[in-house]
Subunit: 103 residues, 2 copies
């Protein structure tokens, strides 16, 4: 189950502490949401490419266990974007909850 539009923000949040690669980012989102959020690979990879294109993340290749992995690192503008997106999420999710009810 997923909420459209939240993925870019969730990816940025996943990279705040340290760089990571696509597959691990997806696992992390699933685990940190207790299995509720589950973005598919066909969604995740294009999203990462888009974020890189926008300059909010940078990527580099790192060889691990003989195989290359594409790591992503959040940029300065990415941290700004994250802060903005986080605030927006709070605002709009509270607005919906205001109508649909909390309890």
């Amino acid at each position: 189950m997923n909420l459209k539009g939240t993925l870019p923000t969730l990816i940025l949040e996943a990279l705040v502490k340290e760089p990571s690669h696509g597959y691990r980012i997806a696992q992390g989102i699933k685990e940190r949401s207790q299995g509720i959020l589950d973005f598919k690979e066909g969604t995740l990879y294009p999203a990462l490419h888009k974020l890189e294109n926008e300059g909010v993340v940078e990527s580099y290749e790192e060889v691990e266990k003989g195989r290359p992995r594409r790591y992503y690192r959040i940029t300065a503008s990415g941290r700004t974007a994250l802060a903005k997106n986080r605030a927006e999420w709070r605002k709009v999710s509270r607005a919906v909850t205001l109508i649909l009810g909390e309890a």
Copy 2:
């Protein structure tokens, strides 16, 4: 500002207490969200048609001030759908907030 996918649920919620027509439903969502949620007419009307097609709302025409208005009434299956959507919203929005942080 809007959250994709929430409109059908917000419409059903708007009809719980009494039937209403498109224009008023849109106004209600905007007001009850304190101006934050603002779905456009080009979004709302097709959404209403779809909900009617699915059988969760019924429509009828009522002439008011000499002009016809299309009123929508929530059906029994609409109430069931609303309960389900409401629970889903809680679940998934909490999952996102779990990751993005509450404070």
